[in-house]
Amino acid sequence: MKLTIEGVGKRYKGNFWGLREFSLELGPGVLGLLGPNGAGKSTLMRILATITKPTEGRALWNGTDIARSPNELRSGLGYLPQDFGVYPNLNAVEFLEYMAAVKGLDAAAARRRIEELLVLVNLTEARKRPLGGFSGGMKQRIGIAQALLNDPHLLIVDEPTVGLDPEERVRFRNLLSDLGGERIVILSTHIVSDVEATATGIALIDQGRLLACAAPEELLRRVEGKVWEWVIPSAELPAAREKWKISNAIRRGDGVHARVVSERPPVADAKSVPPSLEDAYLAVLEGSRESRLGMAA
């Protein structure tokens, strides 16, 4: 089971590149795609889900070009788009039965699978209600269930935890971790904690380009000894923000605990603290932007 992305790029109208020279090779596990809004995460996911064709480069599923022969991948693909709709007059079971038929699943196997999935996404009680009356979180869970219907080899989920309550979010993260053992899961989000909890690999994207792809431990190692924290009085916070790129500021009894990622301590009494994935993400992003600005200058 291998997904290879070779120099993929996508150009939109107005000569805007949503994705550029993107290469990656993936095996079983959970890959977290992290990047700011408009970084190109959804474009990449839509290309991998065979919905959009790349302008350049190619993506191969077990050696087959998915743009030329999409159906080989599609039979084992689970996809949860960022924005999707449902048929409001159908209930949860009917909608999943419909999707199972579209995905080419045997009716008996589909029925068993739907029962399991409804329990999994905690919708058994609402199974007979029209989807038109579902809340955003419930609709999102139906989306998750349909993505898992065909026991996919490749599961692509775009911002899957949007609208889920904290309990459901934790459940879904655990589910993704379990699923990642035997298939390729690609999770796109801008919520670092979702990736932190599930991903075995992280790809950082900005402005359509891959900035880094590594295991979380490796990314953390890159900022080891470069994360600093110190306490400043509340009144001095605005001035501090002007001077340093403060990634986090928490108000406590003794003042504001400011946190920065920097090669050197920002002030003499700053203490080195263990880095978080958010620090690593911000450091890579910042580094890439600075180097781009440098090149432009």
């Binding site: 839509r46 889900a49 065979t50 919905i51 959009t52 064709k53 999409p70 159906n71 599609r74 039979s75 084992g76 693909l77 996809y79 788009p81 999707f84 709709g85 449902v86 048929y87 409001p88 007059n89 159908l90 009917e94 419909y98 999707m99 199972a100 038929a101 579209v102 995905k103 080419g104 699943l105 045997d106 009716a107 196997a109 589909a110 068993r112 699978r113 399991e116 999935l117 329990v119 999994l120 905690n122 919708l123 058994t124 009680e125 609402a126 209600r129 029209p130 038109g132 009356g133 579902f134 809340s135 955003g136 979180g137 419930m138 989306g143 349909q146 065909n150 026991d151 459940r171 699923l179």
Partner: protein, 529 residues
């Protein structure tokens, strides 16, 4: 002052949003085509087998009547989407949280509708000048007589259409496809009635009265014949010089009254307008009542917006079992069953009752009654067919459905077949009777009708992405063809003369062409994403 500013910006934003869409260009293109049809003499105005010389007064009057007769009908469908767009884009919810009043909103939307319709009228007014030059009978342009009919006849009629479109959108059972059908019948019933009345919204009655007087003055007598539409070029009419309408105080008052009525309708729309509170809409209440009962029974709490929030049962740990080998096997019948369910879901018992009644009527009605029963039978499911091909775009399920394997070879044929089965079943009464009576040519025409309707619906849905296009065009076709016994437009075998003349074969060819167009359209959708 701030209210007027809000009204202006509400109208302006909505108008700009519409005119910057590609579909607006198509609308203007259709207006140009309509104007060209008048210019080239394809659409004419005859009274008592006479016509006016093509001077500014006559061309202005003719074009203004064309606007009122055709744009009033089609324009309604063009503008009846403004509230729906606010609802779909979520802009409505934002507007609802502002101090904007409901009256201001419906008035703003009416004015925006009016602006769009008047843009079409302006195009046709320009085409009137072209028509006068093309006819070449009198090339002196007199702006007063040319434009007065547009101002006095068209503006109030368009205001009425604009307000009705908003009103329909605020009334839950009229805002969808049913409203489209209602407007069609309301309009087609109004036109013949209008000719008999002296003050009708379209202005036909007023024009007829004055033209008849002019014909009597020119030729000594006049019949009651009054035709606005396509007439054969072989028939020639005597011509007379028409110097324009006599805009009496009474006429001006009656047209002003229409403007006041349009204003009243826009105000009435505010009464029905739910201010984007989905829990207030009739359809939602109906499903939510059921939903809330189920929710209450199961310990779920309804949310404020009418949607339910899940407050309930603690999650049960579950392990997903792998799918058994061989379960990834596509069965067309499973797909067809799912598509059929999707097609029929949400219909109430009375829908099935009437469909069954029409089947029975088809079985027992004598041969002569077929020309009424068959068209009615295949009008009844129009709102079901109209969702074909457009459903994925309309409900946003395209990302899910089109990322499944072979959507073109599996899902699309199943969608079509479900529509075809619906045509076969609802038309089965007439079909069985034709077979029993051994009227095979008519049975063949009936079968071609059953093939044509879902193919047409699918192609229209795929290409337009909405159900409205099929609803409107099918209604036109249905009304002019099978119902009014127009031979060449009888696509279902309701006109015996059409069957005899082999017209169904033309419709079979059209079915094949539409089938190809439908597949090509879906292919394009899949490729362009």
């Amino acid at each position: 002052m701030s209210q007027a500013r809000a009204l202006y910006h509400l109208m302006r934003a909505d108008f700009l949003e519409r005119v910057r869409r590609y579909s607006f260009l198509i609308t203007l293109g259709l207006a140009v085509w309509l104007g060209w049809a008048v210019s080239t003499g394809k659409l004419k105005l005859w009274i008592s087998d006479t016509r006016g010389v093509y001077n500014s007064a006559w061309v202005g009057l003719l074009m203004a009547l064309v606007v009122n007769a055709f744009v009033s009908l089609a324009g309604f469908y063009v503008v009846k989407n403004t509230l729906e767009r606010d609802r779909r884009t979520g802009v409505g919810q934002i507007l609802a949280t502002t101090p904007m009043s409901k009256v201001l909103y419906t008035l703003g939307k009416t004015l925006s509708n009016l602006a769009v319709l008047l843009a079409m009228v302006a195009v046709l007014a320009g085409m009137a000048v072209v028509a006068q030059f093309v006819a070449g009978e009198d090339t002196h342009i007199h702006l007063g007589p040319l434009l007065a009919p547009f101002l006095i006849f068209c503006v109030p009629a368009m205001a009425l259409v604009a307000a009705f479109a908003v009103l329909f959108e605020t009334i839950p059972f009229l805002k969808g496809g049913f409203g489209n059908v209602v407007w069609f019948f309301l309009f087609t019933a109004t036109v013949p009635l209008g000719i008999k009345m002296s003050h009708d919204p379209i202005g036909l009655g007023l024009v007829k009265t004055q033209l008849k007087t002019a014909v009597v003055k020119a030729f000594g007598s006049a019949t009651d014949s009054f035709v606005l539409g396509a007439l054969s070029n072989e028939r020639q009419a005597r011509s007379f010089r028409w110097e324009g309408m006599d805009w009496t105080r009474e006429i001006l008052l009656s047209r002003l009254t229409l403007l006041v009525i349009a204003f009243g309708i826009a105000l009435l729309a505010a009464v029905f307008f739910d201010r984007f509170d989905v829990s207030r809409s009739w359809g939602r209440r109906r499903s939510s009542r059921k939903g809330h009962a189920a929710v209450a029974a199961r310990g779920l709490a309804p949310a404020g917006d009418g949607a339910a929030v899940d407050s309930a049962p603690a999650p049960v740990p579950v392990h997903l079992h792998p799918l058994p080998a061989g379960s990834r096997r596509f069965h067309f019948l499973d797909m067809l069953r799912a598509e059929l369910r999707l097609l029929l879901k949400g219909q109430r018992w009375w829908w099935y009752g009437i469909a069954a009644g029409l089947i029975v009527a088809g079985l027992f009605v004598p041969e002569a009654g077929r020309k009424v029963v068959l068209p009615l039978t295949w009008l009844w499911p129009v709102l079901l067919w109209s969702s074909m091909g457009a459903r994925e775009a309309r409900f946003g399920t395209d990302g899910l459905v089109f990322s499944a394997a072979w959507p073109l070879q599996r899902q699309l044929p199943a969608t079509w077949f479900a529509g075809f089965l619906l045509a076969l079943i609802t038309g089965s009464g007439v079909g069985i009777r034709l077979a029993i009576s051994g009227n095979w040519p008519a049975a063949g025409a009936w079968l071609i009708g059953a093939l044509f309707i879902p193919t047409f619906a699918l192609a229209m849905g795929v290409w337009s992405g909405t159900s409205k296009a099929f609803e409107v065009i099918y209604l036109f076709l249905w009304y002019i063809g099978p119902l009014n016994q127009t031979r060449s437009l009888d696509f279902m075998g309701a006109v015996p003369a059409a069957v005899k003349a082999g017209i169904p074969l033309v419709w079979l060819a059209a079915t094949v062409a539409l089938g190809v167009a439908g597949v090509a359209g879906r292919k394009r959708q899949l490729a362009e994403r």
